[in-house]
């Protein structure tokens, strides 16, 4: 395991040469700041709301890797004091789907900081997120001697065809994609890394019903008190050292956990899926995007009678998708 971790880190250093600094405001990072790291491509339309959402939650600094956007993302981010940007034209696939870049940025800038690694379409919710900012959570985690925090992906989707409502910059995507699957997730334990492997939700139900083993993983550990020796293994599903993956209780109780509301399914989705399919830069031969592209032709409705409309974190906690643990 130590070897694997080392190899990851060496890869990260090697791949760091692909990153070109666009703007480096990391001098503005204060000790104790919560950092947010994200890799993106052509997500300008989502950024205004994304940034304001996380600024409100108390994120201190954003570190972005821009993978060859051509929609003006870089211009939009230029000059914002709490954002540092690197850009690269290199292959997303060959950087282990961005993991190498993220590992590098974390190693270089996030040592000793609580660090949230999310995509621009993921919105972090956690217990009491309506009244307590992320630093309250991280202080509590520090106090409890915890180094990592689990937040599974929950796909949110609109009712009806995806292209029925147009998403506008600055808009809360949950206004459109406000439904989710409350109780059809399966859990397996990955014995190699000790993390859980969760599958389910609308993607498994609609696109992978005939080959469930291929359905995308929903488990994520996005919030970690980073140490330069840590490394993400595959997206943010698992890390090394393995102790960071034990975010679940095996002896009966519940640990605290959150969720990442995954607002992938907007009107922008069909074009995005097509583009990603053509680039072929995604996981296991882009099997996911192939499934989407095939399914999108018939304009499926992800919504079903038992879809739940998102209200707040308390609802997710009652449904058992996340837990307050012993945070009260």
């Amino acid at each position: 395991m130590r070897l694997r971790r080392r190899r990851r880190l060496i890869r990260a250093v090697r791949k760091s040469f692909e990153l070109k600094t666009v703007q480096n405001h990391t001098a503005n990072i204060r000790p104790g700041d919560v950092l947010l790291v994200s890799t993106m491509r052509n997500e300008k339309v989502r950024l205004p709301y994304f940034l304001s959402y996380y600024r409100d939650l108390g994120v201190g600094h954003f570190l972005f890797v821009d993978n060859d956007s051509d929609d003006g993302t870089l211009d939009y981010l230029a000059g914002q004091e709490d954002i540092s940007v690197w850009s690269t034209g290199a292959s997303y696939k060959r950087s282990a789907f961005g993991v190498d870049w993220v590992n590098w940025l974390n190693r270089r800038y996030a040592h000793g900081h609580w660090t949230l690694v999310v995509d621009p379409d993921e919105f972090f919710v956690y217990p009491f997120c309506d009244t307590r900012p992320i630093p309250a959570l991280t202080d509590w985690l520090d106090n409890s001697g915890l180094r990592s925090f689990s937040a599974m992906l929950i796909d949110v989707y609109p009712k009806g065809r995806l292209d029925q409502q147009v998403y506008l910059p600055g808009q809360n995507p949950l206004e459109i994609a406000s439904w989710f699957d409350p109780g059809n997730y399966t859990i397996k334990k990955n014995d190699i890394y000790g993390n859980l492997w969760i599958q389910g939700g609308p993607r498994a139900r609609m696109f992978f019903a005939d080959r469930p083993a291929k359905a995308p993983a929903m488990n994520k550990i996005p919030l970690v008190k980073w140490d330069r020796r840590f490394a993400y293994i595959s997206s943010t599903h698992a890390l090394l050292p393995r102790g960071l993956n034990s975010v679940y209780e095996e002896w009966g109780g519940e640990k605290a956990s959150g969720a990442l509301l995954h607002a992938k399914f907007l009107n922008t989705f069909a074009a995005k899926a097509q583009e990603e399919l053509e680039r072929g830069q995604h996981y296991s031969g882009s099997v996911e995007y192939k499934a989407y592209a095939a399914a999108m032709e018939t304009h499926p409705d992800l919504w079903c009678k038992w879809s739940e409309k998102y209200i707040n974190w308390r609802q997710l906690e009652i449904l058992g998708l996340m837990s307050k643990g012993n945070w009260a």
Partner: protein
Amino acid sequence: MTVGIVMLVHTSLDRAAQVARHWTASGCPVVIHVDKAVPRKTYQAFRAAIEKDRLIRFSKRHRCEWGTWGIVAASQSASEMMLASFEQVRHVYLASGSCLPLRPVQELIDYLAARPQTDFIESATTADVPWTVGGLDEERFTLRFPFSWKKRRALFDRWVNIQRKIGYRRRIPAGLTPHMGSQWWCLTRQTLSAILEDPDRPRHDKYFRRVWIPDESYYQTLARLYSRKIESRSLTLSKFDYQGKPHIFYDDHLQLLRRSDCFVARKIWPGANRLYHAFLTDERGAMKKAEPNPGKIDRIFAKAVERRTRGRPGLYMQSRLPRQGWENGITAYPYSMFQGFDELFEDFGGWLNRITGTRVHGHLFSPERAQFSGDYTVMNGALSDSAKLRDYDPEGFLTNLIWNTRGERQCFQFGPMDHQGVNWLVARDPNAQVSVITGAWAVPLFKSNRNFGEIRKEAARLQRVESEHLGILRSTWAKANIRIWSMADFVDSPMEPLQTIIEETGTLRQRRLAEVPRMVDLDGFGQFLQNLKNQGMHPYLMGDFPVESGPERKPKPPRRPYVVR
């Protein structure tokens, strides 16, 4: 006469300064001890900011590591300074930098003035309280602890074990009975000075210097020697979680704290602007707005501990995946599994639903698809009826269904033709009511229009599967409520078992079963079994059926001709 505040500070100094000013504004002197671990520069800045206040003093700094003597030493020096510098102090209140006064300071002063001889210090003998963490209660006083618990945990534990093994015990100084309690106390000048000026103090200090977590026992033990009147409770509201760490209060606790009826609360998150604003600026509104309801805080924190240590029964999720045997409830709610009923009775599901009002599914684990009630393709929780999704994790499918529908009893049909992946889970689950009519799977074969060779093969397979399942249900690990009848027995007198099963679900609408499900026509079934036997396949699970006709059928309907091969 007033109350003096001894404040131990190690982080968020600005909040400490804010609270200190709040105390002095009401005429309470404050002596502040700043942990030596705080950098000099920070300390100087903090000191400069509030030193001008005549009522604030700074005491000699000690290094305060959790669980060690430093914290007691700090409170000693600060208390000595308090008693020496402020004549008018009658009670001394020990607080931390993250404590927040909830009620107007004047109320505290008045309260203590009315009880001039009373010491408020939680103090109980080790035998009487269960609150210790890590299993160290009495041993705190009789072992030695040279290694830091926080930094060198393994050494700490090993050293404790070695001492236990060789039977090492420190002697407790004569005259002392170890007591423990919350480290936040409020003592009278008399008691406190008696403790600090005791000629035996060097002896006491020497002993307690090596006691584990002395701040929870030093004053608690010594106060018992001198106090005239001990009220064994802390005036500081402080709640601990299951690891012995204090719960932290946030903005959303404002209403709770207002109703807590306590003078001081800890610990407050330094970023809780609303709390600090509400309690420090708004004297009158601080406490009195609502009826006191101190029990509510207790309940909330007790629930949090319960959730962390036991969790919600039947829930499997990202942060709770109990190992086998540690589930505290394998499923969330009682449910019933019926095996063989669907085959023996016509429209059993419909009848069950009419009689009990429960949700009755068909064969949930049928090889084609999950037969949800009402023929839905999706069920509660957006659970899909796809057989592939279900068979990918059948146990998860069942626990999800029961979790998603908790509060409503689920009934489903089962049989050896179905996917058998949940058998162990159901057998181990006390929430499960399992009723089996063995051998009833033969009825559909009997009614079917298939070649006998095929039927024979299928019968052999089903019999093998069912007998494996019966083995599980009869194993010693089975905790479900299980009833098994052979088909012959059940057909003989079906009403009594039916009545029992239905009564047990607690959902029966009338006292007696008013409507009876119609049994399928079993004429010729005995012959059918005999035919199987003649072919060398011995169907034994259904019990004995006479070859002539189905038992219990009195007015025989006209017989249909058999095809005997």
